[in-house]
């Protein structure tokens, strides 16, 4: 939970405090009638003047706050306790309990709240003690529904199921696990109910169905002042102002609570970043490559300091070539790919380097120019097609739009092309499938549709971020086959970001291994997999389950966070080959052969070991 903003808390706190200490403020008696001085204006003794029977308005206002808030608080608390209990029971136990609690709440919800309140008050007679249960009854269904919806969301989560599997009793699960996890929305509902209870109390008192005269209440004050409005409007104004301020501060508090418990709350606004200009000597031509990334750095501005999850990364892809970027989570592999297209998450920004594409530097292009490139010359495919396809549009329409944004063809022609593309990526019965919505397709089909959209404008480069990770092996095999075919046919360069080494072995020509934000090894796939020169690459290869059914060899430890990098080689703490020098100096990327680089002080020893191993094998 984030911190709640302080202003609304202070405002509501102040109002509540005043209401609490009214008896000790030494105010005149709020029911003391003084008819001769009725309706006298503000004076030193009576700051806000006197009302129609000469009672002190300030005193009545503050005592009124006391009764308003008391009624609102007690009714909201009762509504919250009863409603949440019923909602949790109904949601968690289901069946008949569900029917009894939720339908009961629904029936109460069917009545207009004011009408319901009127009905009950008429039956039971007015008075603060009747008001509390009446208002509680009016707001209870809201709590039932909120708690019920929350429980339904939490009930099937794995940690709740884990408790059931452990044999933990239902009551304990509800109290210890379910309740804390739905407390956010219930708190929001509570502050909402408090604010509207204040209004409802005033409304009922105004109608003479709430607080009984002569006891002070804002609703009564408004009602009484109404009749003398023509003579002096001030007595009417004071309770209205008090009511408005109270409800406004409570609503503000409600908003503050909501944004504090909502994990998807405020997103930092993207600021326009300024990259240092390119070094003057650098040519913008990417020799022979369709995209060349040079010394890319990505920065994230954390609370206390700036961290760099990607540092000094250079890579290029030639037309018709597949480059795989491999690494574990936290290695910076996705950030390296997304930075090129200006698609970094909002907290991250490119901090240095260049991405050269057809004589332009993508990192220094403005958003409209990038948008023009994305989906046309450079396309992307993501891991989860469901989050990149629009759920409310047919997939044919979405591909058509993608074509129309970048090319001036008729809509009919674009639709035709969309159907052809769907057929090309292996979707059977493409003409009919083009009319489907994303949710009507299976995961594999959706990924094919994404690929169809990506290649709609014959891109020169395709960046695929874990495109097969969410798919079954049989479907993954189909998609890999499809990508390989498209690459050969269209001659596009492919950047394939993944953590699965076997997939790399299948699909890539060259591979770049990343660790803790840096490139540790780069070169042709066949060579690197046969003869890894960096201990991390070697360890990664050994950690894949081997063919013979023996257990894979784990790499001890975890990837260091970018804010806690070791001073020397980032892999040294987990490396079986480390020496004192590895922990002292940060190794540079060295050329170790044609088209091969590695970042290890001991690569010569590694190379020797690899050769002896090959000889013995």
């Amino acid at each position: 939970m984030r911190r709640i903003s302080t202003l609304p808390v202070v405002a509501v706190g102040l109002i509540a405090f005043v209401a609490l200490v009214v008896p000790w403020l030494g105010l005149p008696d709020p029911v003391q009638i003084d008819v001769p001085h009725r309706l006298s204006g503000p004076s030193w003794d009576h700051w806000l003047g006197r009302d129609e029977v000469g009672r002190d308005i300030l005193s009545r206002l503050l005592w009124g706050a006391r009764s308003s808030l008391t009624v609102a608080l007690f009714s909201a608390v009762i509504a919250c306790l009863v409603g949440t209990t019923l909602g949790v029971l109904g949601g968690f136990l289901g069946g008949l309990v569900d029917l009894a609690t939720i339908r009961l709440a629904d029936i109460v919800l069917c009545f207009p709240p004011l009408l319901l309140a009127l009905l009950v008050v008429t039956l039971l007679g007015p008075g603060a003690s009747t008001l509390i249960p009446v208002i509680a009854l009016v707001y209870m269904p809201g709590f039932v529904r909120v708690a019920y919806a929350g429980v339904l969301g939490v009930r099937h989560l794995e940690y709740v199921e884990a408790q059931r599997a452990l044999g933990v009793g239902s009551a304990r699960i509800m109290l210890r696990t379910v309740l804390p996890n739905i407390s956010g929305p219930v708190m929001v509902q509570f502050s909402l109910a408090m604010a509207s209870a204040v209004v409802l109390e005033s409304g009922l008192s105004f109608l003479g169905l709430g607080v009984v005269p002569p006891a002070p209440s804002w609703g009564l004050m408004i009602g009484a002042a109404r009749s003398t409005m023509a003579q002096t409007p001030l007595p009417l104004l004071w309770p209205c102002i008090a009511l408005t301020i109270t409800v406004l501060s409570m609503n503000a508090l409600c908003d503050a609570v909501r944004s504090a418990v909502d994990p998807h709350g405020a997103v930092p606004r993207r600021l326009r970043w300024l990259l240092p200009p390119l070094p003057s000597g650098l040519s913008l031509a990417a020799k022979g490559a369709s995209l060349a990334v040079r010394d890319l750095e990505v920065a994230i501005d954390a609370k206390d300091a700036e961290v760099r999850p990607v540092r000094g990364v250079s890579w290029e892809v030639a037309p018709g070539e597949t480059l795989a970027i491999v690494g574990e989570s936290g290695s910076g592999k996705s950030l390296s790919g997304l930075a090129v297209l200006g698609l970094l998450p909002l907290v991250a920004r490119p901090a240095a380097g260049a991405a050269l594409f057809e004589g332009r530097d993508l990192l220094r292009l403005d958003e409209p120019a990038l948008r023009h490139l994305r989906g046309a010359d450079i396309a992307m495919v993501f891991q989860d097609p469901m989050s990149s396809l629009n759920p409310v549009h047919r997939i044919g329409t979405q591909i058509t739009e993608a074509i129309l944004v970048h090319r001036s063809v008729s809509r009919r022609r674009a639709w035709q092309e969309a159907v052809e593309l769907l057929a090309k990526v292996g979707i059977p019965d493409a003409a009919r499938r083009a009319r489907s919505f994303p949710h009507e397709l299976s995961g594999g089909m959706r990924q094919r549709a994404m690929i169809a959209m990506a290649i709609a404008n014959r891109p020169k480069l395709l960046i695929a971020d874990e495109p097969t990770t969410a798919l079954d092996v049989t479907i993954q095999a189909q998609v890999l086959e499809l990508l390989a075919g498209l690459k050969a046919e269209e001659g596009m360069g492919v950047v394939f970001i993944t953590h699965a080494l076997p997939v790399v072995a299948e699909i890539a020509d060259r591979v770049m291994v990343m660790y803790a934000g840096e490139v540790v090894e780069q070169g042709p796939v066949a060579e690197i997999f046969a003869r890894p020169l960096h201990p991390y690459t070697a360890a990664l290869l050994r950690s894949a389950p081997p063919e013979d059914g023996s257990l894979p060899q784990a790499i001890p430890g975890t990837v260091p966070l970018p804010q806690h990098l070791p001073p020397g080689c980032a892999f040294a703490p987990r490396c079986a080959h480390r020496q004192a020098a590895c922990e002292a100096t940060h190794p540079a990327l060295e050329d170790v052969g044609p088209d091969r680089v590695t970042r290890c002080l001991r690569w010569r020893d590694m190379s020797a070991t690899a050769q002896t191993q090959q000889v013995t094998a």
């Binding site: 794995e158 884990a162 081997p546 063919e547 060899q553 784990a554």
Partner: protein
Amino acid sequence: MTPLIEAVKLSKQFGGGGVFGFGARPVRALNEVTLSIARGEAVGLVGESGSGKSTMGRVMLGLTPASSGSVRLDGVDIASLRGKETRRLRQRMQLVFQDPYSSLDPRRRISAQIADGLLAHGLARPADIADRVAALLAQVGLPPAHAQRYPHEFSGGQRQRIGIARALAVDPEFLVADEPVSALDVSVQAQVLTLLADLRARLGLAMLFISHDLPVVRSLCDRVVVLYLGRVMEEGPAAEVFRHPRHPYTRALLSAAPNIDPGRRRRRILLRGDPPSPANPPSGCVFRTRCAWAVEACATAVPALAEAVRGHRVACLRVEDAALLGDPDINGPV
């Protein structure tokens, strides 16, 4: 070996009935699945999404009631257990989840979550709880000093270890591990696999290891069961099934898994399309719509699971022919 736990002709269907599900077809998640696991044995349950493998795990634990058939623990039908006996059942069988993020309550300290099982079954006196939790953390390779931390302070692999510690707290005999490593990075995956293998050897745990990743299953399991649309296609000793897969589906599945070593790459049998919907499975053999060897007879008869070699059972009408039809040369180079 007498089985510790066995499922006999287990079927499970979802939906279909009720007033509001009017006209909806029931989804048959499991169809007469028979499976037994001996003490200390690890059985791999393999299949694509929608094959019913996760449902199988839940039904065997008694977390989801079966539609028909029975689950017997030490010969006792778990559906017949009442009250106290059900609680005792919970203690004997445990579950490890796939997603290390959603399987831990973000709002409670991990010590409290690991202690849940101990408290529910009165397995430790309140004074000893802290020691037990520390011992459990040590057992899964986590520093006991981290017991008072919250889940978000751990990495995915560490969270998976915590999930395992929580399951081990009640000292179970049988563990269902539902894709426990598929959400993890490959280097961490190896760590967790090694831990599971080690725990199994040390504690003599019987294990149902649910996974779609065949090499992972092979490295951990004694036996493997291949599930497709809720039916068992093939079952046998892991080494045997992986070396000589007999069912066309198993062959396709094995050939689809990418291989890190180009020299060992298999000739790929590319399955066409997606698995059919479990709400509307094909007649006869459920795999026939995607099978390269399917003949007319496959559409009419449901093939029985028959023993091909000792302990190796296959449900395919053409299991003999398929061998003759020119072996797809599953282990040969491309």
